[in-house]
Symmetry: C2
Subunit: 143 residues, 2 copies
Amino acid sequence: MQKLNEIFFYQLEKTIKLYRRYVQARFKDQGFGITVDQWLVLKALSENTKLTQSDLAELVFKDKASMTRLIELLVLKKLVQRAAHETSRRRFKLTITEKGHELIAQITPLVKDNRKHGLHGISLAELQTTEQTLKKIINNCNN
Amino acid sequence: MQKLNEIFFYQLEKTIKLYRRYVQARFKDQGFGITVDQWLVLKALSENTKLTQSDLAELVFKDKASMTRLIELLVLKKLVQRAAHETSRRRFKLTITEKGHELIAQITPLVKDNRKHGLHGISLAELQTTEQTLKKIINNCNN
DNA sequence: AAATAATAGTTGATATATCAACTGTTGATA
DNA sequence: TATCAACAGTTGATATATCAACTATTATTT
């Protein structure tokens, strides 16, 4: 069998973990007291206010229980508010607070810069091929 | 800013998480009572007996404390043995037990099949480009 | 050789993730 | 409309990850 280091999926894992570590370190450096996952949820919510906790869980690849707790944290940090849902008493209406919007505004340049830094020196063609490969793998794993 | 779904690193994360989930499910289905991380450690050890716990931690992107506990589990499962190191009293000599070797032999076909399944329909050229992209990202994150 | 720094690994505290069982609510259907 | 299934979210138990502080040992410096 191939050595770990030569295995494609090992490299894939290595890449995303290093990138996450890089991003998390920058978040910390610059005094943003949130995790990458919390950021993803915040960003998803800012794109679409109608997302339920279950939707969010799926989006960031966690289960509902984890999402309950993650959102509790965002609420504790006063970045997100939970309110009664207009039509369903099962759901919550999740809204980003003023403080949350401020954080998003402040962190966005950093986030963009992280992506740019991570993708530095990679041509558009390479990137597109890579995206295509990822899509195929995603498909393969779903059946 | 782009939507989450259009962001390259989000796709990257999605890919590896789905693949992991896929592999873990197959491990479970077929009655292999180990996690993907435990498998990676076992495999790394089978490639190189001289690896220390710290080496292993770095290899699978965890810290030393996590590795201590992961190895404890492998020892409990009687897949790995800890013994005194020949030259250093700080280290352990980690060896794979007979049972461990058997597990490796049994799980290897499944592992190979998983990789094949995950990469189905991807050309060699695509794969190589993708690997190159990953390497560049890894480099970018390390400085 | 003595002092100091660096290394390998462990431990306890804490954070987070996952699972299964649960509540309450809504949707479907008979 | 009464029944039952599906759904949204929570909770407690448990597993795992991470951090910081620690011990013991080995390597380096002076």
